[in-house]
């Protein structure tokens, strides 16, 4: 047992840090750190910078053009990028659909899609949830009917994140109504420029634009764009969900947000003294710091087990629960640190460089909206209640 990073891991961290310092545009970092609006170009621009260095698929093996990093190296990379304020990896392509294509896709699909995910030419989004199918995803009703060499897809997808930026969507559609609902689903790759697709924004709690409804009206999808076998899509979707165990913990992001919370508590005046000197508020910071420490060392333990070739099992459900609760607590404390300044809603201040009235809003205006937005973390990717079901069924044998 050794809690220290090895010399090689330390120098790896140094290499990543230096690269980020030299290449991450300052304005993009400032937007990320202050939770300002990011453009598609901000995110793709950073992705292309990483691509030139060979790092745009940090989780990818070498055979598909990734750097072939160990789980610990991936973790270090994520920590350094997040800490510096780099835009997040475009997860739906790099982390979600890519592993499915690598494992279940045809050679032709691998050759076509994977390089374009790495280069940033294809932005991917996800077509899973439907208005009537959330936690019970397998009840989905979008249909794909075979007609010659194509499927004709009809239905409605929802909670589609950044679909308005996307070039492609991986989509679950029903190809059979026989047997169990899980058995009639296929995994389709759909060009977002296809005729019959319409993307409509969903107004969110914080007033920002992040997710969409996607309507599919007689959309033709070539059979060659189906991954794996017909009616086996549920297996592939589950593989996607379990592929990444630790990213769900959002460890790097929460470490960054904890530092930011402390900086805000030191900056905000509480009747003439820094708020951080108020022990009641500071104890709340200490409590979340301790929760985060427990999460961090649990994540490191999982990475270590994976490195030793042990399968840590359904532990990712525990990481999801703790990680999301910590994200929510941090965003809540950042808002609460503002006191009465939590009330103003100044959407203009979310654009970088804005310096209007009320004075100072450029640094605090995003925090209440982010608090509201972060409530999503215990709902998406399998709600925390679903995660507790998974733990009790798979780990506790109940």
């Amino acid at each position: 047992m050794n809690l220290e990073y090895s010399a090689a891991e330390k120098s790896f961290r140094e290499e990543i840090r230096t690269f980020i310092q030299q290449n991450l545009p300052g304005e993009v970092a400032a937007k990320v750190l202050e939770h300002k609006r990011l453009s598609r170009e901000d995110i793709i621009g950073w992705h292309r910078i990483l691509h030139r260095r060979g790092w745009s698929g940090p989780t990818w093996p070498k055979e598909f053009g990734g750097p072939g990093w160990t789980a610990v190296e991936q973790h270090i990379f994520d920590e350094e990028c997040t800490a510096a304020g780099a835009p997040p990896v475009i997860a739906f392509g790099v982390r979600m659909v890519a592993p499915v294509i690598m494992k279940y896709g045809s050679a032709a699909q691998q050759q076509f899609y994977l390089p374009r995910i790495l280069s940033g030419d294809h932005w991917w989004c996800q077509g899973y949830s439907e208005p009537g199918s959330g936690s019970d995803l397998a009840s989905l009703k979008t249909t794909a009917v075979r007609r010659g060499d194509s499927y004709v897809v009809n239905g409605q997808k929802t909670w589609n994140t950044l679909g308005h930026f996307a070039d492609w969507m991986f989509c679950l559609a029903r190809t059979s109504s026989e047997g169990r609902s899980q058995e009639g689903i296929s995994f389709l790759l759909i060009d977002m420029k296809s005729k019959g697709i319409s993307v409509r924004p969903i107004a969110l709690i914080d007033g920002e634009y992040e997710v969409n409804e996607v309507w599919l009206d007689d959309v033709e999808v070539p059979v060659a764009q189906r991954v794996g076998e017909e009616n086996k899509g549920w297996t592939y979707a589950k593989y996607l969900l379990t592929h990444e165990r630790v990213n769900i913990a959002r460890l790097g992001e929460s470490k960054r947000e904890l530092r930011s919370l402390k900086a805000i508590a030191a900056r905000v005046s509480n009747d003439g003294r820094p708020l951080i000197e108020d022990s009641r508020f500071r104890d709340a910071i200490a409590a979340v710091e301790i929760e985060l420490r427990a999460l961090e060392y649990t994540v490191l333990g999982v990475l270590s087990a994976e490195a030793a070739g042990r399968d840590p099992g359904a532990i990712s459900s525990a990481l999801k629960i703790s990680g999301s609760e910590i994200q929510q607590t941090l965003s809540e404390l950042k808002m609460r640190a503002l006191g009465p300044r939590a009330l103003p809603h100044v959407p203009e201040a979310l654009d970088f460089g804005w310096q209007g009235d009320p004075a100072g809003a450029e640094w605090w205006a995003a925090l209440s909206g982010r608090y509201f937005n972060m409530r999503k973390t215990s709902i998406y990717s399998g709600s925390n209640e679903i995660q507790r079901n998974i733990i009790s069924h798979r780990l506790l044998g109940l």
Partner: protein, 384 residues
């Protein structure tokens, strides 16, 4: 970065677990509970024969393994709810002697610990200090000797110890004295504790101590402030590991109970509201183990003498004790709740686990005390 345990370490843990399940099952323990202070000489001798009392001692004095082996053993001590003064003797006092004692003291005392002939207790805490480390007990120099006056409160395992390690102020700072509980001027009030173990309040009235009883160099005891802090931190790490073993056992027994207990025509473990509670208990126990590993790792790395090392160790040990203390309380309370009326009964193990888990939180600083320690570190950090 490597959290895995090697084969030898895992087989040691397995052998401790097997020994305790064979020789210290719940009914045997019940027999020990009926003894005056819960401790059994036969069990202690068996521990010695198995080598359990040598774990973590310096190799030169017959020791085997190190901090990791001790942690894994403490998990088993917790799982079996062992009443013996194992933590006080092996995890707390022996390492303090190894760390701060003179060569002669080590050579004299540590082999006796390993052989089962010497049970130790650390008499450090005082009533007015509550969880703080303030020491008012005083040892005044008188020629070649010291004269000890003061009182120590709720000394864990003090009722069964053969020798007390007593912290006291001296003219050169804090020192630790080896005090025979039967010495003239020493009065012990021995009592049972809520978890079936024992403790003592110890009063010192003009106790004459030769300079050789001071831990460290003869006639010149070194200031023991740092050594005592490290000792308590190791004790906290050991308590965390004990709590982890006890929480895992508590969770297992709760899961089994809810699978067998039927109400409304089905096992109550089928009810989602109970499943989710047990999922939360599992998550906290899992993360508590990560914190226990962190605390042990930090204490084991205490060779680093830089101020930043000791600040990090202090902060992480407090973070661990806070997290584990809270988790222990939650797991214990919910286990009793899920056992329903049977959770209130002395008959089942769950009430005994709950009491031990509660008292672990209350020992060496509860979760509130250690939360404040982390909070103070945050304030200090913001000013630098």
């Amino acid at each position: 970065m490597q959290f895995e345990f090697d084969e030898e370490q895992l087989s040691l843990q397995e052998s401790v677990r097997r020994f305790l399940s064979e020789r210290y099952d719940f009914e045997t323990r019940r027999g020990c509970l009926a003894k005056p202070f819960g401790s059994s000489d036969a069990i202690w001798q068996a521990f010695a024969e198995q080598g359990f009392l040598s774990i973590g001692l310096p190799e030169a004095h017959g020791g085997i393994g190190g901090a990791t082996e001790l942690m894994l053993t403490m998990e088993e001590i917790g799982r079996a709810l062992v009443l013996e003064p194992y933590l006080s003797t092996v995890a707390l006092c022996a390492p303090l002697i190894a760390d701060h004692g003179s060569e002669d003291q080590r050579a004299e005392l540590l082999p006796r610990v390993a052989a089962g002939g010497l049970k130790l207790a650390l008499a450090h805490g005082e009533a007015e200090a509550r969880y703080a480390s303030t020491v008012r007990t005083e040892a005044r120099r008188a020629g070649d000797s010291f004269v000890l006056n003061g009182a120590k409160t709720t000394v864990p395992d003090g009722a069964v110890a053969d020798l007390l390690l007593v912290s006291a102020k001296t003219d050169i700072g804090l020192a630790v004295f080896l005090v025979d509980p039967k010495a003239s001027g020493v009065r012990l009030v021995r009592y049972r504790t809520q978890d079936g173990r024992s403790a003592a309040d110890v009063f010192f009235k003009d106790v004459k101590l030769p300079a050789s009883t001071a831990l460290g160099q003869l006639h010149d005891p070194r200031d023991a402030t740092d050594a005592l802090e490290r000792a308590v931190q190791r004790g906290i790490a050991a308590l965390c590991a004990e709590a982890v073993g006890a929480m895992e056992a508590t969770n297992s027994t709760t899961i089994e109970y809810t699978k067998s207990r039927k109400q409304f025509g089905q096992p109550i473990g089928r009810f989602q509201v109970l499943q989710h509670r047990m999922a939360d208990m599992f998550v906290q126990a899992t993360q508590a183990r990560s914190m226990s590993i962190l605390a042990t790792g930090r204490c084991a790395a205490s060779g680093g003498s830089k101020e930043s090392d000791s600040a990090l160790r202090r902060r992480d040990v407090s973070a661990a004790k806070c997290y584990v203390g809270k988790a222990a309380r939650f797991v214990g309370q919910q286990a009793v709740q899920l056992h329903g009326g049977m959770g209130m009964a002395d008959e089942l193990a769950v009430s005994h686990y709950f009491k031990r888990l509660t008292m672990i939180d209350m020992t060496f600083g509860d979760s509130t005390h250690h939360l404040a320690a982390v909070s103070d570190a945050i304030l200090h950090e913001s000013r630098t």
